[in-house]
């Protein structure tokens, strides 16, 4: 594994928890973003994620570096899955270890916000009656929902 990676298969939580854990870590926070079936009354059948893989991994590593600068002593792993994902599959996982718990929570939440801003990954939602690429642009206001908003 790489600490900042795009993968095409299922994400194993334990693998990333093990990676960030070390003898000086007193706290580990793990966030997973999972495919949700119902969003505002609309049923998702599945999602399809696409990435500009080398740039996405580079941007995730940059986010990790930002985090380690803001919260010294933490250790970070970020992984995002692409391809076709079904209900409850993990799309993204962020693992952070820290000597103390406050930094582990704060850094983890910072990571998901930054991922949603700068990492070149795109999600297409497939519903029973259609599909659409999700993004922040004004053209998609009626169905422009996000996975973990």
């Amino acid at each position: 594994m790489k600490p900042f990676e795009i993968v095409e298969g299922p994400i194993d939580i334990q693998k990333y928890a093990d990676y960030v854990l070390h003898a000086s870590a007193g706290a580990v926070t793990i966030f997973t973003g999972n495919v949700r079936e119902w969003t505002h009354g609309v049923r998702t059948l599945y999602l399809s994620y696409e990435a500009y893989v080398p740039m996405a991994e580079k941007k995730m590593a940059e986010i990790g570096a930002e985090m380690e600068e803001k919260w010294p002593g933490i250790k970070v792993a970020i992984v995002h899955r692409i391809g076709e994902l079904h209900i409850s599959d993990i799309a993204v996982l962020i693992a952070v270890s820290s000597p103390h718990r406050q930094a582990a929570y704060a850094a983890n939440e910072y990571a998901i916000e930054r991922i949603k801003e700068v990492v070149p990954i795109w999600k297409k939602e497939i519903w029973e009656d259609g599909e659409e690429w999700i993004g922040a642009q004004k053209k998609y206001p009626t169905k422009g929902r996000k996975l973990n908003d």
């Binding site: 973003g33 994620y49 696409e50 990435a51 500009y52 080398p54 740039m55 996405a56 580079k58 995002h80 799309a91 993204v92 998901i112 991922i115 949603k116 801003e117 700068v118 990492v119 070149p120 990954i121 795109w122 999600k123 297409k124 690429w133 999700i134 993004g135 922040a136 642009q137 004004k138 053209k139 996000k146 996975l147 973990n148």
Partner: protein, 77 residues
């Protein structure tokens, strides 16, 4: 020669993942104008351009050999 990548909605709109533009140099703005003209509905105002895997400004210059990517609004996570 400038290489460009298309992703997500733009990949479906253009019907391709990448192509090569036979130019030695152009600005990011010129690249966006070129794409909008070639692919109606491209939506250049909402799209960022990456040069060699780094976000670029509209006035930045793209040189021959650079690898570019059109980055529509991201929706990872």
């Amino acid at each position: 020669m400038i290489k460009v990548h298309y992703f997500a909605r733009l990949r479906e709109l253009t019907g391709k993942s990448e192509e090569t533009i036979d130019k030695d140099s152009m600005t990011v703005q010129q690249l966006l104008d070129w794409a909008e003209e070639k692919y109606p509905g491209f939506g250049k105002d909402m799209i960022h351009v990456a040069i060699n895997e780094e976000y670029a400004l509209k006035e930045d210059t793209i040189q021959t050999g650079d690898v570019c990517a059109f980055i529509p609004p991201v929706s990872g996570g």
